[in-house]
Amino acid sequence: MTIPGKLGPVLSALDAERGRGRVAETLATIVLLAVVAGAPWIVSKAALNDLGQAILFGLFAISFNIVFKYSGLLSFGHAAFFGLAAYGAALLLQAFPALPVPVLILIAASGAGLLGLLLGHVCVRRAGAYFSMTTLAIGAFFYTIAFKWHAVTGGTDGLGSFMPASLMLLPGWRLVNPSITQTYELSVAFLIPVALAAWFLLERTPFGNAIQLVRQNEQRAVFLGYDAHRVKLANYGLAAFIAGIAGALWAIANGFVSTDSIDLTLSTTVIIMTFIGGSQWFWGPLLGSTIYIFGSDRLSAVTQHWQLWMGLVFILLVLVFPRGVAGLPGMLFARLIGRRDV
């Protein structure tokens, strides 16, 4: 592609600098999303069930990684947003079974996004361990609410049987007793556009540029007039909103919501998924969640102590592939040409 005029040198050289990596990344993204979208025709029903869980947790892990990769903040309480939207969607469906699904998801996710903006106002001010500890406290707080407030959340029993026999997708378009394939397709119909929009926002617009500048050098960004707090807060709100979409979809796909969707275990599981997949690639967490879900499913069929083995595998992965599975090609490439500073 040639760009005429004064822009020429800037853009062509930018392409040269990052061109090779960009092409590989774009290809990998297309393949990954094509596999996700085409899975109903490729894999078995049982595998599709797992994959459905994997992509919803994948979207959730992408949301976690938006805060981790783009703002450099490690959240230990990200399940609060996922769980809030999951419970919100469940309660909404119980009260208004005729609510169209997109509206339902939008309401639940907006609630999570608003909560993110509210909580972010406090926790995004601090970086490092302070941020992590604050989010841990937030996560514990919302788990306790879900666990204790039996009248609303059902406590340990959770909320079941909220799935109406027919799910209104859009006015005049209903899903009657949705099958696994249909809920999977519903999830994909949200996952791909939502994640792509977030990717575009963070990688291609001035908004994402500001977020990346603040992560790279907050001091300088501030003296260029960027409001670092607002920039990080906006990113945190965006991540909470996307976590909310994943949580609401998860509630709809499962027809059941319990404290599993908001507890601290989920907050740590999402970190593990992200690191398995690789945090440096936007889609790495989706890869990681798939490996995690299928891995734990296979392992739990073999042994009761699958979590022990999963933990060992995780430690090994982090030691051997610090950049996760998605970082593997880059690592191999670097080793091949003898460079280590990639």
Partner: protein, 251 residues
């Protein structure tokens, strides 16, 4: 323009623990002035800059810019009013390219800092301006190189470029020649002479050649207060200044 100073500090004090760094310090900079700030190590120059730009809050005193009290404005708000600064210890976006660094400053200046919609590459005007700024400081040929890979002298120029890109009314340079060779320092002086134009300048610098070449008025700080203030010739002739610098000739 009236005689009111563009930038004024009144009765600024700042302590860290038991140590008083700035003690009831006042300073008034007129519009268009090029003020050099000198003083021995520990005179409080860096603290003063951090108070001017909003990194620290003074324990006492007021800061006014264009007659407006900015004592409690955070750094980014002061920057948006037209106060730009460089850094003694280089503070750049090292993983990004030279062009991306400059673009970051330009996007913010044009009020596009957080626009969630437009593709970065579609911002033709920004790209054109990025090239202009890079050409101004002699970095056009390395526009697409990653900042971390550039020699130190070039990174210093980028530091200046980021300030210039914002087109600030008041430029505060914190030791812009720190770590530069004699030849690089001469180039820097030439560069600054051409690019500063009629902007107001506050220059903190150890290298007296740089101060004498650029400043039309000099303030000497010592132990947190103003020792003397005057034209370069006056300051040069002041015996008190010579005493403070203790054998380190000022000329």
């Amino acid at each position: 323009m009236s005689d009111d100073p563009l930038f004024a500090l009144r009765g600024i004090s700042k302590s860290f623990g038991a140590g008083t760094v700035l003690d009831n310090l006042s300073l008034a900079i007129r519009s268009g002035e090029r003020r050099g700030l000198i003083g021995p190590n520990g005179a409080g120059k860096t603290t003063l800059i951090n108070i001017m730009t909003g990194k620290y809050r003074p324990d006492a005193g007021r800061i006014a810019y264009r007659g407006r009290d900015i004592t409690f404005l955070p750094p980014h708000r002061r920057n948006r009013l037209g106060i730009g600064r460089s850094f003694q210890i280089l503070s750049l976006f090292g993983e990004a390219s030279v062009g991306e660094n400059i673009r970051g400053a330009l996007l913010r200046k044009h009020g596009l800092g957080m626009t969630p919609a437009r593709r970065l590459r579609r911002l033709e005007q920004i790209f054109a301006e990025t090239e202009q700024i890079a050409a101004l400081v002699g970095l056009l040929s390395v526009l697409t190189q990653r900042v971390n890979t550039l020699p130190y002298g070039m990174q210093r120029r980028l530091d200046i470029a980021l300030v210039l890109a914002q087109d600030p009314e008041l430029i505060i340079l914190d030791e812009p020649a720190a770590g530069l060779s004699a030849a690089e320092t001469r180039d820097l002086i030439d560069l600054l002479k051409t690019v500063i134009g009629n902007r107001t300048l506050i220059l903190v610098e150890h290298d007296m050649d740089v101060v004498y070449a650029l400043a039309d008025r000099i303030t000497v700080l010592d132990y947190g207060h103003v020792l003397t203030e005057g034209t370069p010739a006056e300051v040069n002739a002041d015996p008190e200044v010579r005493r403070v610098y203790l054998g380190e000739p000022v000329s």
